[in-house]
Amino acid sequence: MRIRLEPRKAPSRLALYGAPIMAIALTMLAGMVLFTLMGFRGGAAVFEIFIEPLLEPQRWPDIAVKASPLVMIATGLAIGFRANVWNIGAEGQYIVGAVAGTGVALATYEIESAWILPLMLLASLLGGAVWAAIPAILRVRLKVSEILTSLMLTYVALQLLYYLVRGPWRDPEGYNFPQTRMFSEAQTVPNLLEGTQLHWGVPLTFLVVLITWFVMSRTLLGYQVKVVGLAPMAARLGGFSENRTVLMTMLVSGALAGLAGMIECSATFGQLTPQFPVNYGFTAIIVAFLGRLHPVGVLIGGLALATSYIGADIAQTASALPQAATGLIQAMMLFFLLGVDIFVINRIRIAPCVPRLAS
């Protein structure tokens, strides 16, 4: 008898959308076993990570603030992933977006005007798009894999950030600390709820999700992206240009990552510092897949991941769970999702042993 995997003709819808939930359930179960074996109260810790933040209303703004950049970036990435365009460098575009916006902020230092913030946001969209355009053009013109180039440009962006905050953009009154001036009120994305970190970037992210959903499911453009991803040959016959799709999806995902960077920089940091990049651009890849590359799914995926981040901090104080242990949770989610997906796309066939012919 032997076991083999056989591709399903069409994965069931239920299985397709159930897989992320299954993956989270498996993560919780594995987490429980793991934490118990490590000598912690496993059940309680998992409860604190996944459930407790949802039960405490004072944690909700935190979840929304944490989810916002993840969802914004992942929404953009998911568009590209649908078209088989693999932008792995969202982290770099996120940084360049923040750098571009900060550039506007520093240039308008000591000016109070309502147009500064929109200009900063526009600059961040452009900055992110330009950073993504480099791998896009390299792919279209020279067939260079965008996976490598976009990833490598992340490190370039990081050095750019370090250079600017240490050199030309360093706060002259900041005791030589490598950080820019604090943004003025006119340069800060306004707060939405006093006493929390909730800011207007959160509803903006929600709006981006809605627009993306509309474009992807209700317009020819969205259809084109999906066809190029699913059946490149058919797309070509249908007159859809693959190159144009690559360019467009890269630019959109870069622009959204850039916008997310600016919002995070302005609303929660209030300045650009070397500590600004915290790998949201990479975490967003998990979010995109957890969300099945669907804008609404991405929204839910982002909230789930953000919840686990907030919950991880609760588990640290309540159960004294080390931070590294909680870091496993996020990795396990992607691991189990990929694992479960194997069974969604394939089915297991248990075939009796066929006597082999002499070889």
Binding site: L54, L55, E56, P57, Q58, R59, W60, P61, D62, I63, A64, V65, K66, Y162, R166, Y175, N176, F177, P178, M182, L192, L193, G195, T196, Q197, L198, V202, P203, F206, E264, T268, F269, G270, Q271, T273, P274, Q275, F276, V278, L299, I300, L303, I310, D313, I314, Q316, T317, A320, P322, Q323, A324
Partner: protein
């Protein structure tokens, strides 16, 4: 879960939470005083964060069941710090220690928003009615190990694995170099900047690069023992950072600058218990035992041990100041006249390097 983005629901939720504070953890008069800590690194870093956590445990043991300490480790310096600080306050911590410089803006913001909670920020300069700052005169320890380095180095080149070029780090580099040049006027210090407090892989790479550039003794202002491990492998000498790291590199580890925060923490907890807590700035050093010198390695000749002890005892007695003129910076400008001593203000704003520093 999309409901959390609805402002009305959110406000209602926030209202409900205000009416029912700290669900599941009602505050009773007899409850132990809750004291919170946030750390920038993991408690297992064997360095800076580890030293804070040792002090936390000592404080907990000192007061036994009269207090309950808890901590969150690996908190990124940025909006996450703000969120975690709020979380700790909402969980009922009456006194919160924010143990890294990068938590400054977040701590100042949260302290303003929560005037009934006492905050203590390490190594920063922002204070408020409920926000005190504290630091240790690590630079005094740097003078001791600089003396040792100057006498033990054969090549006359010391390597310095550094984090950020902030005054705290710069004054350490200067004191180390001044002390080393006092015993070996040709001594040079090569500095590598890593832009991180804790990254064992980067720290090890930096130590290797410094060794390749001729440094035969390496010290660090980053928090992991990785540079020491490199010294151990290469047969070079090094120094422990913040904790006694001799168990990790028994041959290379000459001594360490040990941070002993426990007396300060115990005192501040008592002030809260007695209702006498006041804001202020505390800067203790060798004299108050906040900065300690770990036991010397047996490989150190007696004259080196004696020279190191002389510096240490001179600083404790107040007869020796690590930054005493004549001091010239590495661009040739005289900074201190003969016999002139650097005051605290000069140290706290230090953004220049003494002669002999190659940065």
């Amino acid at each position: 879960m999309a409901v959390i983005l609805d402002r009305r629901t959110l406000l209602a939720g926030a209202g409900a939470s205000a009416a029912l504070p700290f669900l599941g953890a009602p505050a009773h008069a007899a409850d132990p005083l809750k004291v919170g800590f946030i750390y920038v690194g993991p408690v297992g870093d064997f360095g800076y964060t580890h030293a804070h956590d040792v002090a936390r445990k000592k404080t907990q043991d000192f007061y036994a069941d009269k207090i309950k300490t808890n901590y969150v480790e690996n908190v990124p310096e940025g909006p996450d710090a703000e969120r975690v600080l709020r979380q700790l306050a909402q969980e009922g911590n009456a006194l919160i220690f924010a143990t890294s410089f990068g938590f400054m803006n977040a701590t100042a913001k949260v302290a303003k928003a929560l005037p009934k909670v006492y905050f203590e920020h390490a190594t920063g300069y922002m204070r408020g009615p409920n926000l005190a700052t504290y630091n240790a005169r690590f630079y005094e320890g740097r003078a001791v190990i600089g003396t040792i380095a100057g006498m033990m180095s054969k090549t006359g080149v010391g390597g310095y694995v550094a984090s950020f070029p902030i005054p705290e780090v710069v004054m350490g580099i200067n004191c180390f170099t001044l002390a080393a040049r006092k015993v070996n006027p040709k001594f040079q210090t090569k500095v590598l900047w890593l832009s991180t407090w804790y990254d064992p892989a980067k720290e090890a790479d930096a130590a290797k690069a410094l060794a390749d550039q001729g440094a035969d003794i390496i010290t660090q202002h980053t928090d992991s023992p990785a540079p020491l491990q490199v010294c151990e492998q290469k047969g070079l000498y090094g120094f422990g950072q913040a904790s006694d790291m001799s168990s990790i590199a028994p041959k290379a580890h000459l001594t360490a600058i040990v941070d002993n925060w426990a007396p300060y923490y115990i005192g501040r907890v008592k002030a809260v218990m007695d209702g006498t807590w006041k804001t202020g700035d505390t800067w203790w050093g060798l004299k108050q035992d906040t900065v300690q010198i770990a036991p010397y390695n047996a490989a150190m000749p007696d004259n080196v041990k004696k020279a190191a002890d002389d510096v240490k005892n001179g600083i404790i007695a107040g007869t020796l100041h690590p930054v005493t003129g004549p001091v010239t910076d590495n661009k040739g400008t005289q900074r201190l006249k003969d016999g002139e001593k650097a005051n605290d203000e000069m140290l706290e704003k230090m953004d220049w390097y003494v002669e002999g520093v190659q940065s």
